[in-house]
Symmetry: C2
Subunit: 137 residues, 2 copies
Amino acid sequence: MNIGEAAERSGVPAKTIRYYESIGLIAPAERSAGGYRVYDAREVETLRFVQRARSLGFSIEQVGELLALWRDRSRASADVKAMASAQVAAIDRKIAELQGMRDTLEHLMTRCHGDARPDCPILEDLAGAEAAPAEER
Amino acid sequence: MNIGEAAERSGVPAKTIRYYESIGLIAPAERSAGGYRVYDAREVETLRFVQRARSLGFSIEQVGELLALWRDRSRASADVKAMASAQVAAIDRKIAELQGMRDTLEHLMTRCHGDARPDCPILEDLAGAEAAPAEER
DNA sequence: CTTGACCTTCCAGTTGCTGGAATCCCCATA
DNA sequence: TATGGGGATTCCAGCAACTGGAAGGTCAAG
């Protein structure tokens, strides 16, 4: 099958498949006489693996590691689990960060009238609040 | 004051200040005889505003809008509140997405021994599952 | 044979910086 | 006055992970 069909079946856009190939995440595809990339079911499965791992937030590099583990029949499942666990921790950190932003914004919003008047504690706080661990001078 | 001090006082790195100037987020700074950028307290305040808004997850473009509202003494506080509200919604969407990833990963992890054996449902699921969100099969 | 869908490569742009090179300015000390 | 060091300047490159678009080649149908 051509790249278009592989894209459709795997859920990875054709452009992205070429990109993955160009950076070495996946092996270069076979080519037809006319120079078209040709894929089979196994490669579609790999692409689906990649797409799923990406959708779980793994970086390209991590996906590369997961692919290597996947292909290594002698890998220890603990290695995979460790990666998953680290990824959960990373996601948790991101969630916590976003939660912090969210809470701050909500707090600012409660103090803003939100009407036609110009007074706006949100802007005042953005301007006045300390940015970072700034020293007094 | 020079850019270094402005950076320290605002919490925005000197390089980032130049970058913000180059993309037009902030106005070009005055220059000294020797060509150095010169800042005063008002500009540091602006930088602090930017840095705080960025830390709340607003994009550069949104920060530009917030700056415009900040400088517009006749703005309606409702406009600001609407931006904040939209930002909260955007953050909520991201949190939900991350939560989904997290839950899926956790689920996969519970089914993996995590020992020296190669059997690993995590990899199997990554390969076999449909690209879309994780139905039971 | 032509049309149009699909494929190819390559370059550029996205977001928000950050690192580094080469050069210049400023101030203080020997 | 030379010099040394710590700023500052510009510009170029690159990070992640694609995505869009141009210019052109291929293929199957009509």
